[in-house]
């Protein structure tokens, strides 16, 4: 037995005895009003979105050209891309792949040393 969502205003549930399913339906209405094209339950498309891995496209031709260019011109490697860019104006080279420039030591270790 759920409350009557159409009587309750969109922002916050007013009735103190709102059932869990009533609250959920109300939240569902809010979502639908914002995204009218949303699929009713998600289902397999939702799962596929969950399972979808971050695909970073790789062009071996561009990659090899970039490497060749590097070797011949003895140029310094192209500037490191932002982490968020998937494709940009240059192809990553092997030494850039571990792009995450992390400290060699975790901060858990460093802070422990300071405090001991």
């Amino acid at each position: 037995m759920s409350g009557s969502p159409d009587l309750v205003p969109q922002d916050e549930p007013q009735a103190p005895f709102k059932t869990p399913s009533g609250i959920e339906r109300q939240q569902e209405e809010m979502l639908k009003s914002k995204y009218p094209n949303l699929k009713p339950k998600g289902g397999s498309s939702l799962l596929q979105k969950r399972m979808q891995q971050k695909t970073k496209y790789f062009d071996s031709g561009d990659y090899n050209m970039a490497r060749a260019k590097m070797k011949s011109k003895q140029e310094p490697p192209p500037e490191v891309k932002q982490l968020n860019q998937v494709t940009g104006d240059h192809m990553p080279t092997p030494d850039e792949i571990p792009r995450v420039r992390k400290q060699s030591q975790s901060n858990l270790v460093i802070s422990s040393a300071i405090n001991s």
Partner: protein, 454 residues
């Protein structure tokens, strides 16, 4: 609950701050985000894994001669880079180095062994102590330089000499190329010879000694991926029965499998599922029922499952419904719309038991974590915060207010910080010590029944 642990009530328990590890910087560096926390079997070691693929192992302060209670202080024991980022050129995929899970092996000799895994590869690491080194070689000196001409009658016998304690970590086995999808769980069997690894659609059985092959024991991949309705979210071996394991799904069910029944355990021996009222279904029902973690109790008679809003306790003998449902943060039900928009609804919280199976802990937002007592059903909300980090500081229980009237000392649901999520917690296997990972900080809290005078 009849049959649960009869140890002293946890209700008189007060929690105190012990330590915090990590920087205080507002700017959190991605690699520092802690992704897993795990005590070893006797609680002497505490391992953490982070997004940067590093493992840090802490060791508890050794027992001193005094008759005082043992310290809950943990200090760095060893640290190593477990996994590196990889690029799968064939599929154009980046394989993150983030450590998803760490599981300790049972101690069999002086060294410690643990399994650590990222999305694709499981590694067996050996952590050992070295306190002596060999000196007195004939062909080279102590710096490694070749000695000059050696006189036959001046040969010396090399000997061991004590040295400063060194902790060495070395990868012993690499279990690779067995998972097409992201590994979410690893679990060491009680037989100490095998372990399982689970990804979204498959579970594989490994022998700890053999890396070039693994045996597939569960496969829920449909013929046509368009018909995909359910994925595996967590899996664990029974703590005593070496032939039993469970796996949870995104639909809120837990299947128990018996490896003696068949080679391929697609057919479950038991299925634990709470009946759902079809009238109460909403768009969010399935998403919030997805189980993010499953843990057997130490005695193997119960298991807990964590879904978005609750922790459920199941009796292994009763499949029809959980014996207990604890509300973790019911106040979030009225925020599901925005939690869906900011993706927080997909956050995977873990849960854990205390050593005597009488209490359960799980995390929430705003750096809050919750502790439930199985016997009294009472619960408490605590916060892992730098503001309350003086040595031995008492943690005051927190409360979240839902409605309009907010009492003093209560936190309004609208002011909760959803970026401060406690997904990973661990409870010492015997003592009242808990480790709580708050993004890039690791907090250690100690429980005590006597209230410290202020």
């Amino acid at each position: 609950m009849a049959g649960m642990s009869t140890s002293a009530s946890n209700d008189d328990l007060h929690w105190y701050f012990s330590q915090v590890k990590g920087t205080m910087d507002e700017d959190v560096s991605e690699p520092d985000i802690i992704s897993t926390v795990e005590f070893n079997h006797d609680g002497e070691l505490l391992a953490t894994g982070d997004k940067g693929g590093r493992v840090v192992i802490f060791q508890r302060e050794p027992l001193t001669k005094s008759s005082e209670a043992r310290s809950s202080e943990y200090n760095v024991y060893s640290t190593f880079q477990s996994h590196e980022p990889e690029f799968d050129y064939l599929k154009s995929l980046e394989i993150e180095e983030k450590i998803n899970k760490i599981r300790w092996l049972t101690r069999r000799n002086q060294a410690h062994f643990l399994l650590s895994t990222n999305d694709k590869t499981v590694k067996l690491w050996k952590v050992s102590e070295r306190e002596k080194q060999a000196v007195g070689f004939n062909l080279r000196d102590e710096e490694g330089r070749q000695r000059g001409v050696i006189q036959p009658n001046s040969l010396i016998v090399p000997r061991y000499e004590p040295m400063e304690l060194m902790i060495e970590a070395s990868p012993k086995k690499v279990f690779a190329n067995a998972h097409m999808y992201h590994i979410n769980s690893i679990s060491v069997n009680s037989d100490d010879a095998t372990y399982l690894s689970a990804d979204d659609l498959r579970i594989n059985l490994w022998n700890l000694e053999i890396t070039d092959r693994s045996f597939n024991i569960v496969d829920i991949k449909p013929e046509n991926m368009e018909n995909l309705t359910e994925v595996i979210t967590a899996a664990e071996y029974h703590p005593q029965e070496c032939h039993t394991f469970v796996y949870s799904s995104s639909k809120g069910t837990i299947r128990l499998c018996d490896m003696r029944q068949a080679a391929l355990c697609d057919e479950h021996a038991k299925i634990f599922e709470e009946p759902e009222d079809p009238n109460s279904r909403s768009f969010f029902s399935e998403i919030i029922s997805s189980i993010s973690d499953v843990k057997f109790s130490h005695n193997g008679r119960y298991m807990i499952t964590r879904d978005y809003l609750t922790v459920k306790v199941w009796d292994m003998n009763m499949e029809s419904r959980p014996v207990e449902t604890f509300q973790v943060h019911e106040h979030l039900r009225s925020k599901l719309c925005s939690l869906y928009e900011n993706d927080c609804i997909f956050d995977k919280f873990e849960c854990c038991w205390n050593g005597s199976d009488s209490a359960i802990m799980t995390g929430s937002y705003n750096n809050f974590f919750r502790v439930f007592d199985c016997n009294s059903k009472k619960d408490v909300t605590l916060e892992a915060s730098r503001e309350n980090s003086r040595p031995r500081a008492l943690l005051k229980p927190k409360k979240v207010s839902q409605g309009g009237k907010r009492k003093k000392d209560e936190v309004s649901v609208d002011s909760l910080d959803f970026n401060k999520k406690i997904l990973h917690t661990a409870w010492h296997p015997q003592d009242r010590i808990v480790a709580v990972a708050a993004t890039n900080n690791l907090y250690i809290f100690e429980g005590n029944t006597t209230v410290h005078p202020r």
